[in-house]
């Protein structure tokens, strides 16, 4: 069984308008794949299909050989796909503190174990302890995105999809997040799919970079 997150000939249409056609992509465990493309080209749609948040209209999506299910229908964490969204504000509940947000990823461990894990992850993403009891409205976008990354890593995902996750951040925060993700790839063999329209960033971050147009064209030729 291949240890990879893959979509084969995936396609999707919004109300009859095709957004994706014949896209084939594979993210191996321990690999960091960069996917670039202009805004509106379907990168986010592909990311959501790979995560199971959207059903693939055509083709198949598998994770470690098993079909990817809708997250609310699967038991537990499934094959372990986490997603880092573009807007940290939209991806965090305004009613939870950063500590609670990170703990959400830690699952059903004991309260003490969860607290220790939250503090360890907060240190890993360079969030100081005084920030953990603040609400999203009381921290910056960069600090909130660090908390989102900590939340994703708390679940120890097999694959992490970063959908324009650094688009709203400054260069220093971007570099810091990329470092944390890369170290997680090295230590745990997590697979990463990084989507961005910033090709130089992806080239500095990922082991291989491709464009959505190239993926569609390659599938068409096959």
């Amino acid at each position: 069984m291949p240890a990879e997150l893959s979509a084969v000939n995936a396609g999707f249409s919004y109300g009859g308008t095709p957004v994706l056609r014949n896209v084939t992509i594979s993210v191996p465990a321990g690999g960091q794949i960069g996917l670039t493309g202009p805004s509106g080209s379907g990168k986010t749609t592909l990311a959501r299909i790979l995560a199971g948040l959207l059903p693939a209209g055509e083709g198949t999506v598998t994770c470690n050989g098993q079909p990817v299910q809708r997250p609310w229908k699967q038991k537990g964490h499934g094959c372990g796909i986490a997603m880092l969204f573009q807007s940290p504000r939209a991806s965090c509940s305004p009613r939870l503190t950063l500590r609670q947000i990170i703990a959400e990823g830690a699952g059903r461990t004991s309260r003490g174990g969860r607290a220790r894990r939250v503090e360890q992850l907060a240190a890993q993403v360079q969030l100081t302890p005084d920030l953990l009891d603040r609400y999203p409205s009381e921290v910056s976008d960069g600090q909130l995105q660090r908390a989102c990354l900590a939340r994703s890593l708390a679940a120890e995902p097999g694959y992490l999809i970063c959908d324009e996750a650094t688009a709203m951040l400054d260069a220093a925060t971007t570099a810091s997040l990329v470092r944390v993700i890369s170290s997680e790839v090295e230590s745990r063999g997590m697979g990463v799919l990084a989507l961005s329209h910033d090709r130089p960033l992806l080239e500095a971050w990922c082991t291989s970079v491709t464009s959505l147009a190239a993926l569609s064209a390659a599938s068409g030729e096959r």
Binding site: A51, G52, L53, P71, W72, G76, H77, G78, I81, A82, M83, F85, S87, A90, S91, C92, S93, R95, L96, E104, G105, G107, C148, R151, S152, A154, A155
Partner: protein, 288 residues
């Protein structure tokens, strides 16, 4: 220069400021009146020193005076004290009804929207079915089966009014369901129950509370109507409804005060609660 112009554009203009000021004044007035009414209902029976059910036929049908500010009824009972006891019962029943409606409505609305699909469609058709029948008619049927029972009155109002809360909460959960933080929670392995508890119910609480407060005056009127029809509390048990029912015969004998004071209190209580509800609603909408 341009920043001055932008700042001026953002400032509220005259009519908007006046509207906001009037709304705030209405809410403050509503809260003040409600506090006054609640104090009257709680403290007057406690401090009166006499039983509101105590009859004294020598002082029957006395008009309002310094000794009896709201007059007395046909049995010589002081209406100032009796009305306070009746108001206390009516308010208590209304609050319990509103809370029961909120509990039922929030749970059913949130679960229905969270599960979606066939469950949601069935629940919504049940809601439509309940709404299609006049609430009073349904309430009368329920109360008639358990006559004079406070529980039956509460059940009859709660079982016919949870649908309004459920509709509001369901709409709110449907909008929350597609938020990225809810999708992130599912991706991290949260179950539907966990998402319901952690995101949906807290996220809809403000709307649910506002819907409940707006339901309060309606519940007061329902209780009064059922008691007025003779289906609610027993006649010896004071409530706004039973007092209004008694006032029917008093008015025919010239005892106008037996009708005016309970009716006025019912009206003022309803308007005060409605003003508070509107204030709460505008605050919630403003925050969103």
């Amino acid at each position: 220069m341009s920043s001055t112009v932008e700042a001026a554009d953002l400032r509220l203009t005259g009519p908007a400021v006046r509207r906001r000021g009037l709304r705030a004044a209405g809410t403050i007035l509503g809260v003040a009146v409600l506090v006054l009414i609640a104090s009257y209902a709680v403290f007057v029976p406690m401090l009166a020193g006499t039983d509101e059910k105590l009859t004294d036929f020598s002082s029957a049908r006395l008009p309002p005076s310094a000794a009896h500010p709201f007059g007395t009824d046909h049995a010589g009972r002081d209406l100032f004290i009796r009305l306070a006891s009746g108001l206390r019962v009516s308010l208590l029943i209304a609050v319990l009804c509103a809370l029961a409606s909120m509990g039922l409505g929030m749970l059913i609305g949130a679960v229905s929207a969270a599960l979606g699909g066939r469950t949601d469609r069935i629940v919504m058709r049940v809601v439509d079915g309940i709404n299609a029948v006049p609430h009073l008619l349904l309430g009368v049927v329920i109360v008639a089966m358990f006559r004079g029972s406070v529980t039956a009155i509460i059940a009859s109002i709660a079982l016919t009014h949870w649908t309004q809360v459920a509709r509001i909460v369901r709409a709110e959960v449907l909008s929350l369901r597609s938020r990225e933080y809810v999708e992130a929670a599912y991706l991290l392995g949260s179950t539907r129950r966990e998402v319901l508890r952690r995101h949906f119910l807290p996220g809809t609480l403000a709307q649910g509370v506002v819907a409940t407060v707006m339901l309060l005056p309606h519940a007061i009127w329902h209780e009064s109507t059922l008691s007025f029809l003779g289906l609610g509390l027993s006649p010896d048990q004071a409530s706004l409804g039973t007092l209004l029912k008694e006032a029917q015969s008093e008015v025919m004998l010239g005892g106008w005060w037996a009708l005016v004071f309970p009716a006025l209190l019912l009206l003022v209580t309803t308007l005060a609660v409605a003003a508070c509800g509107k204030g709460l609603l505008s605050r919630t909408e403003g925050r969103q």
